[in-house]
């Protein structure tokens, strides 16, 4: 991050890219506002960017439990119709979505 000193930690192009990755659409005003706000927040985070953390283990989680397995016994699942009744669109016991590939029919 050599441009950190310039204070432009993230620019509009990067924000637009991140928004696209997160499946969000921003208009021009939002893009400008969010770029400014995200840059402020990342500037604040510069304090940890500057820390020497060589040799410090990362901590992704406070509980050191791994691979919790339940007994391999069938239980009652949620009722399919009840779950599908909450979906925006369902058909034949499945979620219905618009075409995933190619042009719309």
């Amino acid at each position: 991050m050599d441009d950190a000193a310039a204070g432009s930690r993230i620019d509009a192009e990067q924000v637009a890219k991140v928004a696209a990755l997160a499946r969000l659409r921003l208009d021009d005003g939002e893009l400008e506002r969010f770029t400014h706000q995200l840059a402020d927040i990342l500037d604040h985070a510069a304090d940890i960017e500057a820390l020497d953390l060589e040799g410090v283990e990362p901590m992704a989680h406070p509980v050191r439990i791994v691979n919790v397995l339940r007994a391999d016994e069938p239980g009652a699942p949620l009722d399919r119709d009840e779950v599908l009744s909450q979906a925006p669109a369902a058909e034949d016991g499945q979620f219905r979505v618009p075409p995933v590939l190619g042009e719309a029919p």
Partner: protein, 486 residues
């Protein structure tokens, strides 16, 4: 030293008193409920603590509690006690919105474990409380249903994100409420609304049915008017849940039986880093008064430095958004909630998320996506996880010398609407004292301790090492008893 509330009405019985009266047959659950619904009818228009009041269901639940008492059964330790539930906890067949447009109309097919346990203990759910959308915020202003108002001063925020639950207890709508705390979302609103709020040790309370925000940080806990009520709720909702793979084995520590133990001989550390820059003078003065009260009650009190907490805010605002960006990927217009139609699935997902999420949620999703993206992962997310290790190590060092640590809960008393919404970083700074415990996975409570220069409540935070709930509750109980006296 209580504040003249902006609302009418004298204090109603506590949860402990209510359950005792209902179990003994001296009061009916229906009558208890009626008393609270009356308060809601009188004041909810001005407070907006609730997204939904479930009066009819509550009446049916109260009637069933009364029927059990009449049949000679014991409905449980919260018999007939009304409870308000944060609207990011699943309630079967009852709308659960997270105060987001994207979940409008969604009715979960199951109850969160904590809701189920409350009901099995005889509690009566009166409604779903307002929050910052998906629990992201410190003022409840980021809610799609509009802000909640602080019952002590209706021109001020109640704090957040569990502002609705805090306000519901402060306004007397219910003696107890559930919230969730990812970076202070129980403790900070508790402080601003003058009630007790507890974030238990990570893993002590099930997250099954809590709509996920930051999965390595989220923890459910109680709001209450008294420390004893909060302790009872912890014991009821806490303990192992096989449905949550991060749930710790065993029951919640027995805190109720130690509430009267006092603090004689307890070692209390006053965190230096949380009393300096950025902490309002009147708030710091109350915290020092609290430390004196603990010393007067027999505790040894000293200042202690926990240096790495200074990096907590930065680490949190990388870790929590990173986890959120992943957790909120599920809102795609396919399985639940709102869909905005478009010709292809990809366009439909983008249109649904763009219309369904508010600005603060979008900010955090983008921040997290950025922190996790190629080229930045090591500089941001990777470093933040290492800072987390430092914070826990510094806490561990402090807890070799101290049983509990004390600080302000929030740097200021309740602020005015609109004060911080334009500048997200200013809003985030509200969480500077509460965030480190979430990063470490430790427990902490906020206890009201008098008022600031503006006459509004000040909360004192009591932190403890993992599973240190007994010492935390003992300290909280002494602070509660001495708050009126100093």
């Amino acid at each position: 030293m209580s504040v003249e509330r902006a609302l009418s009405g004298s204090p109603l019985p506590s949860a402990v008193e209510t359950a005792a009266a209902v179990r003994a047959g001296h009061r009916s659950a229906v009558e208890v409920l009626g008393e609270r619904l009356e308060r809601i009818t009188a004041d909810e228009d001005r407070v907006h603590a609730f997204n939904l009041v479930t009066a009819e269901r509550a009446r049916a639940a109260a009637e069933s509690v009364d029927a059990r008492v009449a049949a000679g059964e014991d409905p449980g330790p919260l018999a007939g006690v009304p409870v308000a539930v944060k609207d990011n906890l699943c309630t079967q067949g009852v709308a659960t919105t997270c105060s987001s447009r994207i979940l409008a109309g969604w009715e979960p097919p199951y109850d969160a474990t904590v809701v189920d346990r409350l009901q099995r203990a005889g509690a009566v759910v009166v409604g779903k409380t307002n929050l910052d959308e998906f629990a992201m915020g410190s003022s409840t202003e980021h809610s799609a249903t509009g802000p909640t108002r602080n019952p002590h001063d209706l021109s001020r925020v109640p704090g957040g994100s569990s502002g609705g639950s805090a306000a519901a207890v402060a306004a007397g709508f219910a003696p107890i409420a559930l919230g969730s705390d990812t970076g202070g979302s129980i403790r900070q609103p508790a402080a601003l609304c003058g009630v007790v709020g507890v974030k238990p040790t990570y893993g002590l309370v099930s997250r099954l049915g809590l709509v996920a925000f930051g999965s390595s940080l989220d923890q459910v806990g109680p709001f209450a008017a008294t420390v004893a009520d909060a302790a009872v709720v912890c014991e009821v909702v806490g303990g192992h849940d096989p449905g949550d793979s991060t749930s710790l084995p065993g029951a919640f520590p027995s805190v109720v039986e130690h509430l009267d133990d006092g603090v004689d001989g307890l070692r209390v550390g006053l965190v230096t880093e949380m009393l300096g820059d950025g902490i309002a003078g009147d708030v710091a003065a109350r915290v020092r008064a609290a430390a004196e009260a603990l010393a007067a009650a027999g505790a040894t009190v000293e200042e202690v430095s926990v240096p790495a907490v200074a990096y907590g805010l930065s680490a949190y605002y990388l870790v929590a958004p990173a986890e959120a960006s992943s957790n909120l990927a599920r809102y795609d217009g396919v399985r639940y909630g709102v869909r905005v139609d478009a010709p292809t699935a990809g366009e439909m997902m983008e249109a649904s998320r763009t219309a369904g999420f508010g600005d603060e949620v979008k900010r955090r999703i983008m921040l997290g996506t950025y922190a996790l993206s190629a080229g930045y992962y090591d500089a941001f997310y990777g470093k933040a996880l290492r800072v987390r290790t430092l914070i826990r190590a510094d806490f561990d060092a402090a807890y070799e010398r101290f049983d509990v640590l004390v600080s302000p809960t929030s740097p200021t008393t309740a602020f005015a609407f609109g004060d911080k919404t334009a500048d997200p970083l200013q809003m985030y700074l509200n969480d500077v004292c509460t965030i480190p415990t979430n990063l470490a996975g430790h427990p902490a409570a906020s206890v009201p301790f008098g008022v600031g220069d503006d006459g509004l409540p000040v909360g004192v935070q009591v932190m403890a090492p993992a599973l240190g709930e007994v010492a935390m509750f003992r300290t909280a109980a002494v602070l509660e008893a001495s708050a009126g006296a100093s």
